[in-house]
């Protein structure tokens, strides 16, 4: 019963829409001008197969294509967000021997070379010792 009512609703809706003006031709033109080049860009990146060239009638849309497609190409080609880590693992030389965890400066604090050195310095200076514990290395990017 519910299914029949649903079919009836679809029929009535379709009939109502059929009485309205037909979809404007401009939508079709937009589909050809904007969406087809996007599909081509994605397709060219994912498949080595050459796609059929755009019909000659698109020549008039060349300006619009040029204005729109670079952004799409950039979006697909540069999928990695700007603040993300590099996709490729840096070489050992590039990361100062730290693998893919590059060396960074551990802030502006003048750290002693270990807790024992800090304690020895504290005995001379009379200052307290500050020991900062962490998971990872303070002088590496990922800590």
């Amino acid at each position: 019963m519910q299914r029949n009512l649903g079919v009836l609703a679809v029929v009535l809706t379709s009939a109502a829409l059929a009485q309205e003006a037909p979809a404007p031709q401009l939508d079709v033109a937009k589909g050809r001008v904007v969406e087809r080049p996007t599909e081509q860009v994605v397709g060219q990146l994912s498949s080595p197969v050459d796609h059929a060239p755009a019909p000659a009638e698109k020549a008039a849309d060349r300006t619009k294509r040029v204005m729109i497609e670079p952004a799409v190409e950039k979006l697909v080609g540069d999928a990695q967000p700007p603040d993300a880590a590099p996709t490729e693992v840096p070489t050992e030389a590039a990361t100062n021997g730290a693998g893919d965890n590059p060396h960074v400066e551990p802030g502006k604090v003048q750290w002693h070379d270990g807790v024992a050195a800090a304690m020895a310095a504290a005995k001379k200076s009379g200052k307290p010792v500050l020991v900062f514990h962490l998971l990872g290395q303070l002088d590496q990017r990922f800590t």
Binding site: H112, K127, G136, F142
Partner: protein, 220 residues
């Protein structure tokens, strides 16, 4: 914190600083398969111990702090250290009395029920919070603007200075001659919610509880 000019200047002037790694930090890498790769750290808990020259722990600042609060607390501890050396009572008794009085005032000023940590006291760098929320299946805050790094840091600082610090005062009020190495497992497990003896740092149940391929992965 250590890139902040005020914090760095204070530490350089008032302390003899050293840092120590407890273990490698766990890292999460998500390869989206289309060239996009995101790398984040997980469970990056930290702790700042203030010790005397023999390495005895005088006080602990747990977790990551807003620079202004971190500097204020460190300055206060540096001044207390000076007073402890000049006082009429011994240094041990001075610090025990300090922790006892701090614990009493913390307990009186805070409402434990209202300040119970949402994440079992975990303290991690603000940038990791979204990853942690995603892994734990928790919803992000409902504020219209979302939670910024500043908001997360403020939340961590508030947690540090309420429930976490209270636990430390209660512990140190009853202890003498505690070194960082002797107390760090307790600190990470009981205060920061990270079990250093667990290879999964306490996250195993959450990671595998509803994962259907545990046995298959174990065979690999």
């Amino acid at each position: 914190m250590f890139s902040d000019d005020q914090v760095a200047a204070l530490i350089n002037e008032k302390f003899e600083p050293a840092w120590q790694s407890l273990r490698p930090v766990p890292r999460v890498t998500i390869d989206f398969g289309n060239g996009a790769v995101v790398k984040r750290t997980l469970h990056g808990n930290v702790a700042t111990y203030v010790c005397n020259s023999d390495g005895t722990v005088l006080d602990i600042l747990p977790g990551i702090y807003e620079p202004k609060t971190y500097a204020r607390e460190l300055l206060g501890l540096a001044r207390l250290f000076g007073r402890s050396k000049r006082g009429s009572v011994g240094a041990d008794a001075f610090w025990r009395n300090y922790h006892r009085s701090q614990a009493e005032s913390f307990a009186a000023a805070s409402n434990p029920a209202a300040s119970t940590p949402t994440f079992r006291g975990m303290s991690i760098f603000g940038t990791e919070r979204p990853t942690r929320r995603a892994i734990r299946g928790e919803q992000p805050p409902t504020s219209a603007a979302g939670t910024s790094l500043t908001d997360s840091l403020a939340e961590d600082t508030r947690m540090n200075e309420t429930t976490r610090r209270l636990k430390i005062h209660l512990r140190l009020a009853k202890s003498d001659d505690v070194t960082p190495d002797a107390i760090n497992k307790w600190l990470y497990r009981e205060v920061l919610g990270t079990d250093l003896d667990d290879p999964y740092l306490g996250l195993k149940e959450m990671l595998f509880k509803n994962y259907p391929f545990v046995e298959e992965d174990a065979d690999d």
